[in-house]
């Protein structure tokens, strides 16, 4: 214990209290054998309780007999027991509170801790260690897990939304199993993988691998100074997740349970058949064509007397339902000073907001810390997570030619196709005929698909095992070795069915089994020297890292199934069997180090460096060096500050510079010349394998490099804690494919070309106070980010390449030099055409139908950008970026006695979205009308909000499509979470053996204000609107500690 200079954090960081800090507060023993003299004195057992000013017990408070290394910590109820002689002084310390000294006089002690306004001892997790928050010189944000606990989170990433300045989380889907938010830190700096590196308990993982309930703390390393120690993988920032570990004290069992209902936040609304028929007639009249429907027919649509031929199907009503979500977590923890344990199991069930969709998740974790003897600390972790997702499948294009991977989980032909068809199929199509057979359009019938029982099952099993040992040669010098093994399997079984309709049928009865899995083996060795003398504090770390990543993909397939029920591959005909598979490997070796120095916590300096070698690059360009430097000055400690210290109690300036790498380019072997197999032909009816050289290689390929410069200011005025940061992050040598001349006849190759800069300002302000039984707090954070594409390379003539397609989206999005990334590209609209402005045939065409469109009064007026009197593809222009300029979050919390309330909001300003299909059009089968058209020019005339509606059979198009009119403002503010809890008084619960019991209500995504057209969610991805809608969740929960 005495060597535990920097153990891992163990208690909630919310009130900046950790066991580790308690231990840290122990003076560094001068000698290893500082035994005390208690044998000669009267030793008796002292029992004590430590509470905060509101009377709540404090857990993990360090109790130390002054002048010795004897001590203990408080348990879950704030209690401690210590054998100590009377008259001795106990030093009681806790992060965030002022250290107290108490002289032992009786057999029981009650201590009330007072908060330390400056809170200089708070620890945060940083790369390969812990650091005092006060001594940080880089930009590190940590999550106050008061805002993570007890939320009905189905995944960790969505829990981060809105909590941290500069960390944006876009949760574009409510799809169980794929509802992981997309995280970007300080804007997007590359055209390649732009998500941060996620480190769980020291080793790479994914946010999805962790049960949110197991999380103790999250740190986000935002700048190069703090993340350079992760080198070539850290260019997009690093998220460090620390899981809960056992604490000294009696065993405690915690149960947390939640049950909630989910529904779509919103979805597009469409007109009924009879209204659509009326609008159709009006549209026809507007171009001098006779009515499409008679009044009798419209009446039939309305009164449902002939549902086979005059249907009015509520397709969305048939698909959507209220979902159920429930979770149960049990955690057991405890331990002695030499051995601590925590074991948890979690279960989560979600049935989606669509029929035949559900997810079962089971997770288990065991974290054990054993110090077998004085100089050795060991840690052991096993984490297992199983996710089992069932989804309905469309009969639409599932198996494609050659047995490609159509229909896989998350692909465009999975459940997404159902959402897309629901948004386009006309209400005039009967869901079922009177005889019970399904109606259909060319693309099928999405409800028939759902009801067919065609099922895609995804089974993910993720196992991570970690073992580490840290040996102290002398108290200031240690060596740590850690190994980790991760195995992640992802099995997808698709059972597709042929669906019969009233006329015809669709699809193929077949099974496809896809298995993709990876394993990652890692070894880390880190010697560390920590020493302080005369106000000089040193922490020097060195490290060696080796890892091997292996990926394997296999797919098998058969059709001609014996019947519609059997789902095994063997139930299909072997003559239809197909198989494909491959493996990929990535190996890395790294050397790294850090020197942190400070003088009296006033002058701070830190240097990090990492030297990485990757198998992805050729021998000569394999190694990359990633250094960083940062410095800090706590000028509030200077004498000149004395006058205003009562007001501004803390002020620190931070400066940093660093360089990071990124190597995630999709290809594992971009520098190896290959002759690809599988390019064969057919002789005499049999496929014969063949080989062709297809890929071009660039042996000079190397890392993308991102340089970050930052200036930060931390200060505290009265009760306001503020962090301000300005940064500039420039990525150069972005790995991009280079267009080769067609005659080269090999694929485009990768090269280090692009340059993107993100410049921004971010702030976070928190406020907490209490008075009597009342306590309250608030926090706000925001980040202005200015993204700018600086270079996209030069063409063969040396001229700068102007744009490249971003391919992030189903509609046209481009990257162009001089503008933010992900620009929409299309026509600019200048209101509606007025009388006299309509263009005759062939002069007002829209891109898809150049020269063959008529423009009418009330149609959109496209701007003739090049002034040639024609509207065609050349008149398209950049219409703005998808990505927001400003992201923000804020929260409010308060409590009174046992009642607590927290609400937090998240939002973004300045992004854009385009939704195509869901705008709709007139037609009897594969289109319908969004209700927004009630306010169209054709119905409302002057003053209408929307332009004319296209008339079927007439060539009037061009009013929908990607133009500035339909680019919606995706700015929004969302009530991400509202939670109201009540803690039953302990006097009551103790009687039944419960030390703590809290019941609560939680609402997620309850309220959204956005600039989008009604029915469209601002976090939904752009395009056809075929995503799984985000969901709103109302839950009740129970939290019990025994």
């Amino acid at each position: 214990m005495k060597y535990a200079k920097k153990p891992s954090p163990s208690v909630k960081l919310c009130f900046m209290m950790t066991l580790a800090t308690g231990l840290l507060a122990l003076p560094l023993p001068a000698q290893a054998n500082g035994s005390n003299v208690q044998a000669t004195q009267q030793v008796s057992t002292v029992r004590g309780t430590v509470v905060d000013q509101s009377g709540s017990p404090l857990i993990g408070v360090s109790i130390l007999v002054k002048g010795t290394t004897t001590g203990t910590v408080t348990d879950f109820d704030g209690n401690f027991v210590l054998d100590v002689a009377k008259g001795k002084t106990l030093e009681i310390s806790y992060v965030g509170y002022l250290t107290q000294s108490v002289v032992v006089s009786g057999s029981s002690i009650h201590v009330v801790m007072k908060e330390d306004a400056l809170n200089l001892e708070e620890l945060v997790v940083v790369g390969y260690g812990l650091q005092k928050k006060a001594n940080l010189t880089g930009s590190v944000a940590n999550v106050d897990n008061k805002l993570l606990d007890n939320r009905p989170l189905t995944n960790l990433s969505s829990g981060l939304a809105g909590l941290l300045p500069g960390v944006s989380v876009l949760q574009s889907s409510g799809q169980p199993g794929l509802d992981v938010g997309t995280i970007n830190i300080r804007g997007i700096g590359t055209f390649n993988e732009s998500g941060p590196l996620v480190i769980i308990d020291g080793f790479e993982g994914t946010m999805n691998d962790v049960n949110p309930n197991d999380v103790e703390s999250i740190s986000v390393l935002k700048d190069a100074a703090s993340s350079a120690i992760y080198g070539s993988k850290a260019a997009n920032g690093v998220i460090l997740i620390t899981t809960k570990r056992g604490k000294t004290g009696r065993a405690a069992v915690t149960y947390q349970g939640l049950v909630g209902v989910t529904k779509a936040t919103d979805y597009p609304r469409f007109m009924s058949s009879d209204r659509m028929a009326e609008v159709w007639n009006i549209a026809n009249q507007s171009v001098g064509v006779g009515d499409r429907f008679t009044q009798e027919e419209i009446a039939k649509f309305r009164n449902g007397t002939d549902p086979d031929n005059y249907a009015n199907t509520d397709w969305q009503g048939l698909l959507y339902k209220t979902g159920l979500q429930t979770s149960h977590n049990v955690t057991l923890s405890g331990g002695s000073e030499s051995a601590k344990y925590l074991a948890s199991v979690g279960y989560l069930y979600q049935n989606g907001i669509v029929r035949n969709y559900d997810k079962n998740q089971f997770s288990a974790r065991i974290n054990v810390d054993i110090n077998p003897f004085e100089k050795l600390e060991t840690s052991w972790s096993i984490n297992f997570m199983r996710q089992d997702v069932n989804e309905p499948l469309p009969s639409y294009n599932l198996s494609t030619s050659g047995g490609a991977s159509g229909g896989e989980f998350g692909s465009s032909n999975s459940v997404y196709q159902i959402f897309r068809q629901i948004n386009v199929i006309s209400p005039m199509v009967p869901y079922k005929y009177q005889d019970g057979s399904y109606g259909s359009i060319s693309d099928g019938n999405p409800i028939a698909w759902v009801e067919s029982g065609a099922n895609g099952n995804t089974l993910k099993n993720n196992l991570q095992a970690i073992g580490s040992a840290k040996y102290y040669f002398i108290p200031s010098l240690s060596l740590k070795a850690a190994v980790a093994y991760t195995r992640n399997t992802n099995d997808y079984a698709a059972h597709n069915l042929r669906v019969k309709y009233h006329s015809g049928s669709q699809g193929v009865t077949e099974v496809a089994f896809t298995s993709s899995n990876y394993e990652r083996s890692v070894l880390d060795i880190t010697p560390e020297w920590v020493q302080s003398f005369g106000g000089h504090n040193f922490d020097v770390l060195a490290g060696y890292h080796a890892e091997l990543y292996k990926y394997r993909y296999n797919r098998t397939y058969r059709t001609d199934m014996a019947n519609d029920v059997l789902t095994d591959i063997n139930a299909g005909s072997s003559s239809t069997a197909q198989a494909e598979g491959y493996t990929r490997e990535l190996a890395m070796i790294s050397w790294f180090g850090r020197i942190a120095y400070n003088y009296k916590g006033r002058y701070l300096f830190e240097a990090n460096a990492r030297y990485d070698g990757s198998s992805r690059f050729s021998k000569d360009n394999r190694w990359g060096f990633f250094p960083s430097f940062s410095a800090g000055w706590r000028f509030s400690d200077e004498r000149f500050w004395n006058a205003i210290r009562d007001v501004v109690s803390n002020a620190k300036l931070r400066l940093s510079w660093g360089k990071l790498g990124n190597q995630e380019i999709g290809s594992y072997y971009p520098t190896i010349t290959q002759m690809s197999l599988g390019y064969g032909t057919i002789f005499d009816g049999k496929y014969v394998n063949g080989t062709v050289t297809r890929n071009a290689v660039n042996k000079d390929l190397k890392w993308e490099a991102t340089k970050t410069v930052g200036i930060g200011l931390d200060f505290k005025i009265w009760k306001l804690n503020a962090v301000l940061d300005w940064y500039e992050k420039t990525t150069t040598g972005i790995l991009m494919t280079v267009d080769v001349p067609a005659a080269y006849a090999l694929s485009n190759y990768y090269d280090n070309i692009g340059k993107v800069r993100n410049r921004g300002f971010e702030f976070g302000i928190t406020y907490d106070d209490h008075h009597g039984d009342w306590s309250w707090g608030a926090g706000i954070n925001g980040c202005f980010n200015n993204n700018n594409v600086l270079n996209l390379g030069n063409d063969v003539n040396g001229n700068p390449v102007e744009y490249r397609s971003a391919d992030v989206d189903q509609s046209t999005v481009r990257n162009v030099v001089g503008k933010p990334m992900n620009q929409y590209y299309g026509y600019e609209v200048d209101g509606f055409l007025k009388a006299g402005e309509e263009k005759p045939h062939a002069e007002g065409g829209w891109a898809d139908y150049e020269g063959s469109s008529v423009r009418r009064v009330g149609d959109l007026k496209f701007v003739d950008q090049n002034g040639d009197g024609q509207i065609n593809g050349d008149d398209r222009t950049y219409l703005g970026s998808m990505d927001p300029k400003f992201t923000f979050g804020f929260h409010l919390n308060g409590s009174w006695k046992g009642i607590d309330v927290v609400a937090f909001f998240q939002g973004a300003l300045g992004g854009k979205r385009y939704m195509g299909d869901a705008l709709g059009a007139l037609g009897t089968s594969d289109v319908k009308l969004n209700t927004l058209w009630e306010d169209s020019y054709i119905l409302k005339g002057e003053g209408a909000k929307y332009p004319n509606l296209g008339v079927p059979g007439q060539n009037y198009s061009g009013n929908t499509g990607q133009n500035s009119f339909w680019l919606q403002n995706a700015s929004y503010c969302r009530l991400k979470e509202l939670q109201i809890g009540y803690t039953i008084p302990q006097q009551v619960t103790r009687k039944i053996g419960i030390s703590n019991c809290r019941v609560f209500y939680s609402g997620q995504n309850l309220l959204t204000v956005s600039g989008m057209i009604k029915g469209f969610d601002p976090e939904s991805p752009s395009g056809r609107g075929n995503g799984f809608p985000p969901t709103a969740v109302n839950s009740f929960g129970l939290n019990v500690t025994f």
Partner: protein, 573 residues
């Protein structure tokens, strides 16, 4: 203890770093060029790799890219309504460098490069089987000549590349004059013929002597060099390895594909890396097909009645029952209303019926404007997609053997050459060989002008849907009235698209009785669509008027020119 810990850690570090290969990782699903090109089996793998390049001609990888059939969608035989599939923009002449349909993906060199790489590297192989090296080389050279033959027909001037290029060389590579490319094709094919085994000695789908001869025959015919075309056609006839299959219709059914008529085929085998996705070819109503590519009513009208007379002339022709008493090849070539077809229920009489808007009061999903995926002409492709070839479950993984070259084409080429060279009796002989197989009456030996029209009609009817029509429409010429001329006129394709082509559809219903073939008899009450001003993009006549002589050669995509400015755009674009 310290020593032990140090020992363990040192061992762990060394176990990784001492192995200097730790950072050397190579794919396990691809070959390394450094160790390849040694054995005859290496050469065979690379040879089949060059055959794979034929995909770029006959199957462009897209669901709808079965070009062996789809190439006829660039002519008056077939039509692809869906603009996004890339054919209609080429048929209507609306093609531009930025909107160039499938022509964008057909401008390719990977296949040519594979051939060049083979020819450069094959010398390293330790050959032991006598004659094998020469045979393989001849196959590769024939493939390369075929690739150039198509591309110089499609694009005109085309880069002639006969070795693998460095990136720098590729950036400088211009288009070579078409004449230069064409003479390369001629000499390469001539040089290859002798090393190739004849048709009886090779697998179906593998290049034989007759195929190389046949390509030369096509090359000369397409250049109106009837004398040379006749020479190579006669060489095939005299080789004696081929003859006409007995049954025209059965020849296109799976199971009969190994016939005595096929010179070269391009196959799709279900559930292999090259199987056929059938949806684009079949009707919407029963199987959920897309009807992407459908025969035109214009093609339907070309078939004679069984008396050997055209529908304008024959007394047997009844416009209300147009499918009765016709050349049997009509029924073998297209699924017309009333034909019994896979997937149709009893209530639908088990037949394809695109004629009425409703059947039994229900919307008819095969009626041309009732569904996006209904055939816009009301006809469906029959050749290769006869009911016997199509099963509901197997639709997305079909086996089909497309015929790239068959003996009937050789005979019809001989007939055309003889007629153009003035030997009308000899021409009639070959023409009647092809006609008598399907029971059509002989043509009489008349005058050259009449027989020219006959052989041209015969070629369209016999070879429809086999990808040869566009080349014929380009080389044949007409006078200002649309009458066939030998030379000095307008390319027929330009005249027809500008003057006499649109997409019509048929209305009516099927009768309650069947014909001798067991099909329900179609009753056609109207032919509509396609009139000027009909506003049915791209149905209407004016949509095809944009086709001009510049459209004979296609533009190069703007992206290709942007990357390599040495490439000049095709004239007229």
């Amino acid at each position: 203890m310290k020593k032990t810990i140090f020992g363990i850690i040192a061992a762990a570090v060394l176990s990784v770093t001492s192995c200097s290969d730790f950072l050397e990782r190579a794919p396990q699903d691809a070959l390394s060029p450094a160790t390849f090109w040694q054995t005859e089996s290496d050469a065979y793998l690379a040879l089949t790799g060059t055959y794979n390049g034929l995909n770029n001609i006959y199957h462009n990888g897209h669901w709808t890219g079965y070009n062996c059939v789809m190439m006829d969608a660039l002519s008056d035989n077939l039509f692809d309504y869906f603009s996004w599939e890339g054919y209609s923009v080429m048929t209507t002449g609306n093609i531009t460098p930025t909107n160039n349909g499938v022509a964008g993906s057909w401008y390719q060199f990977s296949d040519i490069r594979a051939c060049n790489e083979y020819l450069e590297m094959e010398g390293n192989v330790g050959w032991s089987t006598p004659g094998l090296e020469e045979q393989y080389k001849a196959e590769v050279r024939t493939i390369r000549a075929l690739l150039y033959l198509y591309r110089s027909n499609w694009y005109g001037d085309f880069p002639l590349i006969t070795k693998t290029l460095s990136l720098e060389e590729a950036y400088q590579q211009p288009r070579s004059p078409r004449a230069e490319v064409q003479s390369f094709i001629e000499s390469e094919l001539k040089a290859s013929i002798d090393a190739l085994p004849d048709r009886s000695a090779v697998s179906q789908g593998r290049i034989c002597k007759e195929f190389a001869q046949g390509l030369l025959m096509r090359y000369y015919l397409w250049n109106s060099d009837y004398r040379n075309a006749k020479t190579y056609a006669e060489a095939i006839v005299n080789g004696g390895k081929l003859s006409l299959a007995d049954d025209y219709r059965a020849m296109f059914e799976v199971g009969n594909q190994y016939d005595k008529e096929t010179i070269f085929d391009f196959s799709f085998i279900s559930n292999t890396a090259r199987d056929l996705y059938g949806n684009p070819f079949v009707a919407n109503g029963a199987l959920g097909g897309w009807s992407s590519i459908v025969p035109t009513v214009d093609l339907m009208d070309e078939f004679e009645c069984i008396d050997g007379k055209t529908i304008e002339e024959s007394d047997l022709y009844d416009p209300e029952h147009p499918f009765l008493n016709r050349d049997p090849r009509l029924r073998a070539s297209m699924i017309y209303p009333g034909q019994v077809y896979t997937g149709y229920t009893d209530s639908q009489k088990g037949c394809y019926n695109s004629l009425p808007a409703t059947i039994d009061g229900n919307n008819n999903p095969d009626y041309w404007n009732n569904a996006g995926n209904a055939s816009k002409s009301g006809l469906q492709l029959g050749k290769y997609f006869l009911a016997s070839n199509v099963t509901s479950d197997g639709l997305s993984h079909m086996t089909v053997h497309f015929k790239v070259m068959r003996y009937a084409e050789v005979l019809l080429t001989l007939a055309e050459c003889d007629i153009e060279l003035g030997d009308l009796a000899e021409g009639a002989k070959y023409l009647n060989m092809v006609r008598s197989r399907v029971g059509m009456p002989d043509v009489a030996v008349t005058d050259q002008e009449t027989m020219r029209a006959q052989v041209r009609r015969e070629r369209r009817v016999e070879l429809n849907g086999e990808g040869l029509r566009r080349e014929d429409m380009v080389r044949w010429q007409v006078d200002s009235n649309g009458k066939w001329v030998a030379s000095g006129g307008t390319p027929y394709i330009v005249w027809k698209f500008q003057n006499d082509f649109c997409i019509e559809h048929l209305d009516g219903d099927v009768e309650n009785y069947k014909d001798a073939n067991g099909d329900w008899v179609a009753h056609v009450t109207g032919r509509t669509g396609g009139e000027k001003g009909a506003q049915q993009t791209p149905f209407a006549r004016e949509n095809f008027e944009t086709f001009t002589s510049k459209n004979i050669f296609w533009p190069i995509s703007q992206g290709t020119i942007d990357v390599n400015p040495a490439i000049k755009q095709t004239d007229g674009y």
